[in-house]
Amino acid sequence: MNEIIAKEEIAPDTYRYQIYHPRIAQKRKAGQFVIVRTHDGGERVPLTIVGSDLTAGTVTLIFQAVGHSTRELAQLGVGDRLLDLAGPLGQATHIENYGRACVIGGGYGTAPVLPIAAALGDAGNDLIGIIGARTKELVILEQELGDICSRLEVATDDGSYGHPGFVTDVLQALLDEGEPIAFVLAVGPSPMMRAVANLTKQRAIRTMVSLNPLMVDGTGMCGGCRVEVGGETKFACVDGPEFDGHQVNFDLLMKRQGTYKPEEQEAAAHGPHCRIGLDAAR
């Protein structure tokens, strides 16, 4: 178990792993995640389950090697085993037929969108997809999402591919065109999810976002993952990770995500190994 069966770099520093764990492969539903650990002393890193292959007994994980622990994870190769793999955690996405729905992925947040889009598609939704990335080479899963969506738009911040600008610019244009979007799902960096939620709020379009606060156990035992939704405290690992985007306190989320910046920086400066940046859920 936990063996890496396939590894692929799908964009610079962005990896897709197929990991052998038949039970998780069988049980997982769209929207759920796992927690992985690579070595003794390693962090517990939450990663969304992007898909599974029941015949091969594998789950698909996609992550960007942006922090210490995800870089450790990227060091592994085919045949290596993850030390620990726990899941499927969190609530599955609530799926229903909204009619026309829009799924939006920002950066490697596009990966968690894929299984939800697939489930929404299976439920009969007509899907519009929007993928956003900093630059062309960081656009991921265009083909996979394209297969599910009846219409797919890409936006890059630097204009190197697709529409120049942000995913919200594309969404705005679609809404202005009169697309009858009844539901929006957005996953990506917190500022992007907040921007989407602000836009859809004006038009009262139901919007779900998938949050990635810092986590430890992932079972509701520590409360480290708490987020504020509609003025109430929720534990993202058990109550979420998806919440109503119009109710989320993004400001608090972003601050809490930065809790260990000082420690990380100090360790990077003094520690025996380099630890720049923070590992987030995806």
Binding site: L89, V216, M221, C222, G224, E228, R256, H273, R275
Partner: protein, 478 residues
Amino acid sequence: MSPKATAIPRQPMREQPPLERIGNFEEVPLGYTEEQARVEAGRCLQCKKPKCIEGCPVAVDIPGFVALVHEGKFAEAARKIKETNVLPAVCGRVCPQETQCEELCVLGKKGESAAIGRLERFAADWERTQGLVERPRTAPPTGRRVAIIGSGPAGLTCAADLARLGHDVTVFEALHEMGGVLVYGIPEFRLPKKILREEIDALRDMGVKLETSAVIGKLATIDELVHEDGFDAVFVGTGAGLPHFMEIPGENLLGVYSANEFLTRANLMRAYSFGEAADTPIARGKRVMVVGGGNVAMDSARTARRLGAEKVVLAYRRSRDEMPARAEEIHHAEEEGIEFHLLTVPVELRGDEMGRVSSAVMQKMELGEPDDSGRRRPVPVEGSEYEEPIDVAIIAIGAGANPLISSTTAGLETNRRGYIVSDPETGATSIPGVYAGGDIVTGSATVIEAMGAGRRAAAAIHQHLMEVRRSTEARAEV
């Protein structure tokens, strides 16, 4: 009774001096020497009707093992304890002896009680360090399979007893290490993890299968364990793993932790060696406030101190006499310079522009009329607020029932607070073949009570499995 016996004072245990130990995470008490243990054991009056045993939730034969220590038969003493308590090295360290066995000790009526906990610890440590631990004999395989959910003291005890009876036992643990609160909550300086790991290795030697990272309710439900995986019985020992917060303004500020999170980062994830041997960070506050008066609060305060806090304030809403922590922990905390702000609660946490906690508004309390628990209820003193500058706050006011199992198990009866309802004698729940015990039934209690519940459930499960076997065999014969 010899008059000499009572004249000998209770033997003190060597400890790391406070100023030294706040700079490390190593164990504080160093244990008895052989000589000290024999002297201390000699103080025991060997009562004909020993009161102490009544105070022990698992009824260890205390005079019996103490007599063996006195005779220098240390390994035999350890084995005597293990007849009813599978984790003596743990219990000798963490049991609240002063409210259990030692409270009832006759010596304590006039002077100081026998140091039963220290002797228990000594015997178990001696047996282990001399390499004399015997692998418990296991009965021939019964062919029956039992799933144990949760690897805290309740689950480990239940697993050990059932394995000894020849059942095929698998323990499922959500975290990546076995041990429950003993590994994620109680700090190294109070319970070295090495001791626990050896106990767990012993379980493995007995043929118990240990599955970590197995979150039951998610990876498989109890129903699936029974109907798809073919387990004949299930024991739920999932603990009280749902942290309570105070529900005061500012609790989501950066630097505010539940004790569970703070201690899990420090213990399970070993955040004290962050940047070296461990990758999980923890906020190292200079001025830390801990809220609560139990063992969890003491452990949090002392951990914060070891992480470099210059000032640690422990706020407790009642008075010192009501603190539920073990006496030794309170004493150690005070020695380590933890400041107790008694009859005090924070009513608000304030933050800086970055969203980091920067102070707590504290309110003084006084004791009013007794409440349901019979303890006098703390009531706020008007106009007594003051502001305490802090950079980390740790909330250690208790825990509730984690709903992972109850919410995924149809027909499992829980009480109004979410705890599983089970028969105190057998652990039987509303579902036949499913048993429960420990903190998930009682709410936060003690290691030894969880062990007692695991043991009683093991006996009941054994009986249930044997009855099922007899009835299926009987049916097969017709």
